[in-house]
Symmetry: C2
Subunit: 710 residues, 2 copies
């Protein structure tokens, strides 16, 4: 589908010519501020046309009455007129064959129903003409690296610190906060803030940045994702080009969702599904703005290599212990130093210093800085580690400034990054020197270590998924994104199992019995012990109304069970239409209870959930999720999360892990083959036997779509 | 025991007279710096005697040759001589009847075995004379509120910002970092840094601060806890006096423990046990220094009241959503505003603003601040909330300064605290005004919300445990703290169950059978089905070697089981001495598997662990812990953590929660009655029947101490 294809944004981001509609001299107006940013602070690659029907000229530049009247067609039209005038301008742009319009105006979807209707009309014009729209209700586009501000932000001139980080956001407020992080040496080269996203989305800019040579790290603030497949394609493109994507998603909790929805019209899907898909495609998710800045800086500084172990170098035992704790709690490893490093530390540090890892030089370095000069570089270059943390607990003034100089000098001689942590609230000369030298020191141990953890995990994910950038899936599952609240119906166990069996999923031998005699006949063929379960389209929870009996060991017990079930069920739910009893071979007891589920996420499509089943589901929520389809490697990673339960505790033999993995892949294939039909699927519990005995769903439920979508 | 009793520290903290041994003029020496702090920067309540045998006078003050030669006995002697001279000075102090000695010198336990022996001799002198020792290897004692610096720290003069927070630390480095947090308006009135703790411990100072009228909030950085009961008594005292204790414990991970141990000789017990005991006694645990500062400030600002719900007030939708997410993720609640607040917001805010909670005024307030002036105070005083968060994403200059003024003004008219979050890296005029007005704005949403979460949870804990400050336990369990690695022996299931039965713990009917015939007789009396389990002091893991058979339904099956077990066990472990088989009534199947364990923590004593048992233990570690003894209320809280598993899922009846709670209390009583004997106890699994059927340990193991300690 055309819809999911990314736009080619080169002409938007480096336009050869620009028109500003609504150019103005009224101080503080959007038209005036945008004009100032373009005329005074930008470096333009070609002509800037001013459009204002009531003025012959502005600031010595000729004004044109309309887009239609322009002497040439500009690449980009920036629209800075009130909402009521926007549609006419956009019609003009479409007629003129303009490629891009940046609509700064607010008063659209965020303002109510009337605004939402206006947005629809904008979309119609875009769809019909090929004109691509950016905004509305946005601060514009800030191309710092090329010094171009298609924005009314008065901060633009202050933002002109070039850098390798690209920022794509929806709303402007939080994005500006990230821009202010440049105060501590984080250079953001391009900021796209797409506002209400009537057409171009954050994902389009992620895709653009994935290819842009001046951007190495992509950062995104998301309030909602409008087009899941497009987002996935964009982050896969970034992965293919070796660029990390760091995402802060707001609207994760019910409260946040409410706040985000009142703010924009963007759809906010399930937070668990979003996070799972981020993990699956190597997107680095963070939870706060400062984490985002720290993490982006670290990736811009260096990409993670194969060496995951860390070094800690510090001059206070308590701080060393605090940092080591954070490293341990984050599941990271401290390196064992090479003999050369150890020998040098032993020779240069006092007897009572700690020369293992963490290195605690003790406070003696405050009086003799030469020790740091000769040892820090050696530690940071140690062949056994990939990154060195240098927590600086205090700003002592001159001695701390010398420490900063030592860090700057050591970093010059070593490829693995050094991460200084500036823990003090005093931001003295040492701090300023670090920032000037390109460090953006995290301000607490926890913040530094959580950035480092994400950096290490990203490297690990890349190594484990070398092809994560390759497109693994058809981008447009027919009907997949339709979330029309269409009618559905539930296929009960018997029907669901039949479908699964046809798809090659192994089940316990079973058969539907319409009478007690049939039940006995089936059981005789299947072999005792058996389970008997009510089959009725009207009954959702079989156990709850006495519709299940397990462990039936012989004909007498089965016969009795038939009568008990029938009388209990009909007593408790008199009107239920009953098709009979499903007679099924009973699985050996003692297996751990697992579950496999599939749901259709409104943004991304079918998502598979796997984890603990049975009564533990509710309490523990020990599950893992993947967007479909999954490959064998994904299945293995999913099963690994419950590995501890399958290892043969208490002298039991190890479980049939291969069969469980195969079942997951088979379910993935099955669902995608029936993607237009299947809305939900749940296999709970799934029984796992000893090696060779298989992995078998004991219960099954499918909810299928009955609407027109199929 | 004398040992656990807190020292009366009033004369140490407000001495009437002080002697400085090692007073010096050598620039930068410890003796010189301490002298400067005392003479130039302190306000002394009485005479300061200088001791230096080689000088008649220093800075115009007479010098005395020794402590013995002083004209009067000082309350406190500050020792600033090299380690080699310390013992002689302390002997002098003891002979003279000095109450306290503050030993600043380093070169003791932290420097090796020789230093540790010196510490032992210091302890002997203290024990024999009653002289109390502070240090060694510490920066001293900083009494900011009374302007007294028994310290060599050159920062002391800068630290003189009075405040209601007391700080008790071991090492000096991290403590000084907290002191630097005063840069953002956090006033610390007293800082004790106890160094190697040969005598006085952090807990003594927590106890002192609990009673000190000028301290309202107690903050502690702990590398290890030497005396668990003393620590518990101190935090209970603080609780009784309504003062929160906020603790950052380093050495929580293996890495951190290693670093902490190389630094001090302090014992670092199990991190899980420490954290559980902190929770139990209402101690607020934090994980990082900045969290500690944010949390301490919030408690100093206001104590949590009965209203837990929060307000969010902000001018950016994205920031509102980010903050609301953090509130949701922390398990906190947003308030529903009163009709009055809602009416005012509707009247004053623009149509497209969000007037629910979070309030999003939209950026219009940048141009019309009067809206904030009229509405923020109303929101912050709303009767339905206990605290209002005001995230400030950006520093826009003048308009942000006006926002700060509005916050300051609104706070003056309302008792519930307002917590501004200063998210920008620009610390402009608005930030400075907030700090000057007594706000210490957290610097990120996450940091603010985690401080607020701890604040709310502390209030909740106080309400649920109104008597947490009351001493619930004998402070010195005989033998409890001996951790001498003495011999232990394991009581197998049969013996352990006998002890439990005598203690009134309900078990499944069981009996030891020495022959197959005895087994059949027992089973006949008990009733089938039964379980048969090998009884042997030589066999630890019965199942693993085929020593258990379950579900024996009749005499024939039991007979067969006897022979199978005996032949399997003797084949697999030929030398094992076998006492017979334990024949036990089999519990009904289907119960969730729980476990109860008791271990002896080397610092605190017996700790009870309760949670999921069976194979889930390893994977999920879903457990909760309490220091013994526990009361009925504790047992209820512990059982509550697995409530979701006991509620009668799948149509099963609800479990016997009362019996489970009673079992926990009974085990607590049982262990304390045998505290000198029991080293460990494990009941796993514990079976829980339906209401009225009881909670019954199915397996039991006790490890008892056989050494002299009993």
């Amino acid at each position: 589908m055309e819809h999911h294809r990314p736009a080619d944004l080169a002409r938007l981001i480096h336009p050869r010519s620009i028109a500003l509609v609504g150019a103005s001299e009224r101080a503080g107006s959007i038209g005036e501020r945008t004009l100032t940013n373009l005329l005074t602070h930008s470096e333009l690659a070609g002509p800037l046309y001013l459009v204002n029907p009531s003025r012959p000229e502005l600031r010595g530049q000729r004004c044109w009455p309309s887009v239609a009247a322009l002497p040439a067609t500009p690449d980009v039209v920036v629209v800075a007129v009130p909402a009521s005038g926007v549609l006419a301008v956009i019609e003009d742009c479409a007629a003129r064959g303009v490629a891009f319009a940046v609509i700064l105006s607010s008063g659209f979807g965020e303002a109510g129903d009337q605004g939402r209707r206006q947005e629809q009309r904008l979309q119609e014009i875009a769809a019909r003409s090929g004109l691509r729209l950016y905004g509305p209700n946005c601060p514009g586009l800030t191309n710092v690296n090329q010094r171009l501000g298609l924005t009314f932000s008065p901060s633009f001139p202050h933002d002109l610190v070039k850098g390798p980080i690209g920022l794509a956001t929806q709303g402007g407020g939080l994005g500006r906060n990230v821009m202010q992080a440049m105060e501590r040496g984080i250079g953001i080269g391009l900021w796209a803030s797409t506002g209400n996203e009537v057409d171009l989305q954050v994902a389009d800019f992620i895709h653009y940045m994935a290819d842009a040579p001046d951007i190495r790290v992509i950062v995104s603030l998301l309030e909602g994702i409008k087009d899941g497949p497009k987002f996935v394609a964009a982050v896969q493109r970034a992965a293919a080009n070796g660029k990390p994507v760091i995402v802060l998603k707001v609207g994760k909790s019910e409260y946040g969702r409410r706040a985000a929805q009142s703010h924009t019209a963007a759809l906010t899907g399930s937070a668990q599904v979003n996070s799972a898909i981020f993990r699956q495609f190597g997107v680095v998710e963070v939870d706060d703005i400062d984490e985002l800045a720290d993490t982006a800086w670290l990736f811009a500084r260096a990409m993670p290599g194969a060496r995951e172990a860390l070094g800690i170098y510090c001059s206070s035992g308590g701080t060393a212990a605090l940092t080591a704790d954070a490293v341990g709690a984050a599941g990271l490893r401290l390196a064992a130093f090479t003999p050369e490093t150890t020998a040098l530390l032993r020779a240069r540090l006092p007897d009572y210093a700690a020369i293992g890892n963490p290195v605690d030089t003790t406070a003696m370095v405050l009086s003799d800085q030469s020790v740091v000069e000769t040892t820090l570089g050696r530690v940071a270059s140690d062949a056994n580690l990939g990154l060195t943390i240098v927590p600086i607990a205090l700003d002592y003034g001159a001695s701390t400034t010398r420490m900063a100089d030592c860090i700057i000098h050591a970093q010059q001689g070593c490829a693995a990054p050094i991460v200084p942590i500036w823990m003090s609230d005093r931001l003295g000369e040492g701090y300023q020197r670090l920032v000037a030298a390109g460090f953006a020191p995290p301000r607490s141990v926890g913040k530094a270590v959580s950035a480092i953890r994400r950096w290490v995990e990203y490297g690990r994910h890349r190594r484990a998924n070398p092809d994560v950038g390759a497109l693994q899936r058809p981008l447009a599952q027919p009907g997949q994104r339709s979330h029309d609240g269409g009618a559905t119906r539930s296929l009960g166990e018997a029907q669901a199992k039949q479908m699964l069996q046809q798809a090659g999923v192994r089940l316990m031998p079973n058969a539907l019995a319409k009478s007690a005699d049939e039940a006995l006949a089936h059981a005789g063929r299947i072999g005792y012990p058996v389970v008997a379960k009510i089959v009725s389209a009207d009954i959702a929870h079989k156990s709850d109304i006495g519709g299940v009996q397990v462990g039936l060991r012989d004909a007498a017990q089965l016969q009795a069970a038939w009568h008990t079930i029938m009388s209990t069920v009909t007593a408790r739910q008199p009107g239920a239409r009953i098709a009979g009893l499903l007679i099924e071979k009973m699985a050996a007891p003692g297996s751990v209870e697992l579950m496999i589920g599939v749901t259709r996420d409104p943004v991304f499509g079918h998502v598979l959930t796997f984890g603990l089943g049975g009564i533990y589901v509710e309490l523990l929520r020990h599950v893992t999720r993947r967007l479909l389809p999954i490959a064998a490697r994904d299945a293995a990673a999913m099963v690994h999360t419950v590995r501890a339960l399958l290892g043969g505790a208490r002298g039991q033999p190890p479980a049939d892990i291969a069969a469980l993995e195969e079942l997951l892949v088979r379910i993935s294939d099955f669902v995608l083959r029936h993607a237009d039909r299947i809305e939900e699927l749940e296999l709970n519990p799934v029984w796992v036997g000893a090696k060779g005995q298989g992995a078998i769903p004991l219960d099954a439920l499918i909810i299928e779509r009955t609407g027109a979508a199929a």
